[in-house]
């Protein structure tokens, strides 16, 4: 699919001059032998395979492991741009936590009529088990990955809030590590802000959210669904980097009202559980009874203040795409300020007028499932043929409340190394945000995902996207 409008390229201005943040990099790049770069690119791939930086693809043969393609041209963000972005992200994440606390307690925002009640009461992501409960430190979203897209010099939009269990941070770290190994000189010539503190910061941030009944130094563990999960590499990577245990449901049990893991020397209590298991699978006694991935009774331990679950169960309500459309109002309601970051214009198909407009303009719009993620189950109008649009239109009419629609954004591009020369490709950005009662910490940069096919706007790794190292320059 080709974008109709000229897009904003982050490296090259329309007159082909190099934009300021890239000037240092460009000096280096122009001195490189293209053949050498292409060889380096293969080296990087071999390195990823050897170290096992892979993800599993659902729907493929069991244990199929794939690489996420890595492009070695960095995406570069100026310090001033980043400062602006990170203020906006922080404001938004604070509002989301306030919103979650409110929704599960006094529900003032519903009473004020800012967000419609039906959106909450009939939402599967709303967990009645969380009502009337405040998680330790009132933190719901310990880790957030706010997806941001850019369409122009100063036009940044939040695409998704990912308040559940955002993945990809291991790629952010490994991409930088790879760049440092392959091109150390780049980091002496350019002043790039560090990202390598993330695991340490994550551990501290989680420790700071320990439950009230924890005495002494909190024990943190990561809960993984197991080695066949698509993000297993990331789970083990983070456990390793943080120096904490990587546990599965069957390693855990409730013992004397606490969550304990089975060790070679008996059971040991866990205080903070960074779970990479969805709400539904967390506790077979309280949610899906057939789940083998969770811990029976963990919700009761949680409500008794004997463990911290990160992110809190029920945070999914905040990254529901229908709630998303109210985010500017939500930010204003809880912070008293205008939202610093813009939302993408969104039509809620549950509303008859909006539905009519969406059906009329399907070929221009991107339509997403309200609860979907990973680029599955969505329609990219301009890339779809007539038959696909007709089929989607039928689905949409059947269950309009399940969908929202957004305009096809002209995402910014950053060059990739294609056949020894630079070629522009669309990108997005996922910065990683840590929340604790001690404050909000945002790692400078984040994960840049890039649609490797020419003209494509879909950056998801499950749909053929790649990644880039992301630089935030120092002043």
């Amino acid at each position: 699919m080709n974008t109709k409008h000229p897009h904003f390229d982050e490296m090259l201005a329309s007159d082909s001059s190099v934009r300021a943040p890239y000037s240092g990099y460009n000096t280096w790049f122009s001195e490189q032998d293209p053949a050498r770069l292409s060889k380096k690119s293969k080296e990087a791939e071999a390195f990823f395979l050897r170290t096992g930086i892979t993800f599993n693809v659902y729907g493929q043969a069991a244990a199929q492991e794939r690489l996420i393609p890595f492009d070695l041209i960095p995406r570069i963000i100026a310090n001033a741009e980043w400062t602006r972005l990170s203020r906006g992200i922080e404001q938004r994440v604070r509002a989301i936590n306030a919103f979650l606390h409110d929704i599960y307690n006094r529900q003032e925002i519903l009473r004020a009529g800012v967000v419609p009640v039906e959106l909450i009461s009939r939402n599967a992501a709303f967990l009645p088990q969380m009502v009337g409960f405040s998680p330790p430190g009132n933190v719901y979203t310990h880790i957030v990955g706010t997806d941001i897209v850019r369409t122009g010099e100063n036009d940044f939009f939040v695409l998704e809030d990912n308040a559940r269990t955002p993945s990809g941070v291991s790629y952010m770290l490994e991409n930088r590590e790879t760049m440092l190994q392959m091109f150390p000189e780049l980091f002496t010539q350019n002043r790039v802000q560090q990202v390598s503190d993330y695991p340490k910061n994550l551990r501290r941030s989680l420790e700071a959210c320990a439950p009230p009944n924890c005495d002494g130094k909190p024990t943190v563990a990561i809960l993984t669904p197991g080695i066949y999960n698509s993000a297993y590499f990331e789970h083990s990577f983070l456990a390793d980097q943080m120096g904490v245990e990587l546990v599965e449901g069957h390693d855990l049990r409730v013992l004397d009202g606490r969550i304990a893991m089975r060790t070679t020397q008996g059971f040991k209590t866990i205080d903070v559980l960074y779970r990479r298991v969805d709400d539904d699978y967390l506790d077979p006694l309280n949610f899906k009874p057939e789940s083998m991935l969770g811990v029976p009774g963990i919700m009761d331990v949680y409500r008794a203040g004997n463990i911290t679950i990160a992110n809190a169960p029920g945070t999914g309500i905040a990254d529901d795409k229908a709630i998303y459309s109210y985010m500017p109002e939500i930010v204003e309601f809880y912070t008293g300020e205008q939202a610093l970051l813009k939302n993408v214009e969104t039509w809620r198909c549950s509303e008859p007028d909006a539905l009519a407009y969406v059906l009329e303009n399907l070929s221009e719009l991107v339509v997403k499932e309200v609860h979907g993620s990973g680029g599955y189950g969505m329609l990219v109008g301009p890339a779809a043929n007539k038959r696909e649009i007709a089929a989607f239109s039928a689905k949409l009419k059947k269950n309009p409340g399940n969908y929202i629609a957004q305009p096809t954004l002209s995402l910014s591009t950053v060059p990739i190394l294609a056949k020894k020369q630079l070629a522009p490709r669309h990108v997005d950005l996922r910065p990683y945000v840590l929340c604790s009662p001690k404050g909000i910490n945002i790692t400078p940069g984040g994960l840049t995902r890039v649609a490797l096919r020419e003209g494509s706007l879909v950056v998801n790794s499950s749909q053929g996207g790649g990644t880039k190292d992301t630089w935030v320059l120092e002043d």
Partner: protein
């Protein structure tokens, strides 16, 4: 450490050890096939028994030809003990216990798996076999080197050593078990060319034909071959050596954890039994019985370790 992690490490190294031993058996069988083609079928048959896979093999094939046996032992994914199967299982376990391994060990295991998958993609041609067996040995040596050179000597290392040594004791004992009759002094005529070949095969299947000669000059008798395999604590694949390593590493665990659960008494008894015996008292009591008892007790120790350290709950 999580019980699951201890179990993952233990089995990871049992699998790696098993793969290495299977490759060794293939090497010994191949050697026989080259030098004494008349006996080849029966040799292949007993090698399959030593590897503990003869039932599975017979379910698939009627004859014992080199090409089929080699294929079954090296690259048949329906054979749970084939080199490719155990290498894959070891690598899966390594992913599971990734946080307990150094980067060097993980990479060595991962590369071992990637390399073998490539190497064993197609049936192995006879001319390529020596090179492929050499590569398997080299890859395993890299894993061992990484373990020895980079792993902390903590409980993690102890479970690695326990898995390796339990598996190794089992393998050596099974090789003796399958060939015990050739080692009996009563039925063999010392120094007959037939026996020399049989003993040579046994020694080759534990990669010890040269070590044996080094220690025993040229004198090869059933008694000193059996003694070497069972009691010689200088030989790293002997039963005595393997039991010593198990005992030692359980001892380290006792020191670190401050407890001596039941497996500790069991290995002490097993060692004591080896210490009490000479090769002639073993022959007097019956070699076959002795080895059968050893295998059973070794398995029991392995199971007790799994329980004592809560591998599975």
């Amino acid at each position: 450490m999580l019980g699951k992690t201890a179990g993952g490490l233990y089995w990871m190294f049992r699998f790696l050890e098993r793969g290495e031993n299977t490759a060794r058996l293939v090497e010994a069988g191949f050697r026989i096939a080259l030098t004494r083609s008349n006996d080849a079928a029966s040799e292949w048959r007993s090698l399959l028994t030593s590897a503990g896979v003869s039932a599975g093999y017979k379910a698939k094939y009627d004859q014992f030809t080199a090409a089929q046996v080699v294929d079954y032992l090296l690259r048949d994914t329906t054979n749970p003990s084939s080199v490719i199967s155990v290498t894959e299982k070891a690598r899966t376990n390594a992913r599971m216990v990734r946080t307990a391994l150094t980067t060097e060990v993980w990479e060595a295991v991962n590369e071992n798996w990637m390399g073998l998958k490539e190497l064993l993609k197609r049936p192995v041609k006879e001319t390529d076999l020596p090179a492929i067996l050499g590569e398997i040995r080299r890859q395993n040596a890299l894993v061992r080197g990484a373990v020895s050179g980079t792993m902390l000597r903590t409980d993690i290392y102890d479970f690695i050593q326990l898995g390796t040594s339990i598996e190794r004791a089992d393998n050596t004992a099974r090789i003796i078990d399958v060939k015990y009759y050739t080692l009996l002094p009563s039925t063999s005529f010392v120094g007959s060319p037939l026996d020399n070949v049989q003993w040579e095969t046994i020694l080759r299947s534990v990669s010890a034909h040269r070590s044996f000669r080094w220690l025993n000059n040229t004198e090869m008798t059933s008694s000193n071959v059996a003694e070497f395999l069972i009691l010689d604590a200088r030989f790293p694949r002997s039963l005595s050596f393997a039991c010593g390593t198990i005992d030692q590493n359980l001892g380290f665990l006792a020191k670190e954890y401050g407890t001596t659960p039941q497996s500790h008494q069991m290995i002490a008894a097993q060692r004591e039994k080896l210490r009490r015996h000479t090769i002639s008292t073993i022959f007097d009591e019956g070699l076959h019985q002795f080895i059968t008892d050893f295998i059973r007790e070794n398995n029991a120790i392995g199971q007790q370790i799994e329980q004592d350290y809560r591998f599975n709950g």
